[in-house]
């Protein structure tokens, strides 16, 4: 007679179901038992085939790289003052100042029209300090002209809502 944890009578199912692992391996034998006559072998063969298929799939699936973009040949990110990596193209290509094509050369939809808002936000943030600096007797005329332009722009923007 088997006690708890041993096989049941005549090799039948175990008395203690906690000793049987649903995934196999962690139980006493790893083989499923208790199915109908002739079915145990069939079920266990299916389990073995399933495990082999899983192992094969896992080995074929590349594991996630430990570092992002590992294996991708990315150029090192330089600094703003580094020499250009595209010497045949003006550094200002795509912007509306300097040599090269302006923003009209950019693909449609590439730019959104947020730059005006961004400018206004930055200017609004610093305009009081800039205006104070422009009152300095040493302030160059070019700086005063710039601050006057910002003040006029901010006033007209306020009028237009």
């Amino acid at each position: 007679m088997g006690g708890q944890g041993s096989g049941g009578a005549n090799g039948g199912p175990q008395y203690n179901p906690a000793n049987v692992s649903g995934t196999g391996g962690a139980g006493q034998s790893g083989n499923y038992t208790g199915f109908g006559y002739g079915k145990n072998q069939e079920v266990n063969n299916q389990r073995i085939q399933g495990n082999q298929a899983m192992a094969s799939a896992q080995s074929a699936t590349p594991s996630a790289p430990t570092e992002p973009y590992q294996g991708i040949n990315m150029p090192q990110l330089g600094t703003l003052t580094d020499p250009t990596t595209r010497p045949n193209e003006p550094i200002t290509a795509g912007v509306d100042f300097g040599p090269g094509p302006g923003s009209e050369a950019l693909p449609q939809g590439f730019m959104n029209n947020t730059r005006i808002d961004e400018n206004a936000k930055i200017v609004a943030q610093y305009l009081p300090d800039l205006a104070h600096a422009a009152k300095s007797p040493d302030a160059p005329d070019s700086f005063k002209n710039f601050v006057n332009y910002l003040i006029q722009n901010s006033q007209s923007a306020a009028r237009n809502g």
């Binding site: 550094i91 200002t92 100042f97 400018n119 104070h132 332009y149 910002l150």
Partner: protein, 69 residues
């Protein structure tokens, strides 16, 4: 607020140079570039020249208070 001392490479000098070199319509970019930590006015001016293809515009040195270092 303390009085502003206009010296080459100071924040307001940088703003003056970038705003007048890049154009007033690019004031946001100009202010942000002016806030970068430029090693020297020469490096800043070289950067302006590299992106505009022209000499920096803005106040000249005659506007600055001459200091003996």
């Amino acid at each position: 607020m303390a009085d502003i001392t206009w010296m080459p490479g100071s924040l307001f000098d940088n703003i003056d140079k970038f705003a007048n070199s890049l154009g007033y319509q690019n004031s946001g970019i100009a202010i942000q570039l002016a806030m970068m930590s430029w090693k020297s006015p020469e490096e800043r001016d070289a950067f302006i020249t590299s992106i505009t293809g022209e000499d920096p515009k803005g106040g000249t040195e005659k506007n600055y208070i001459k200091q003996n270092f």
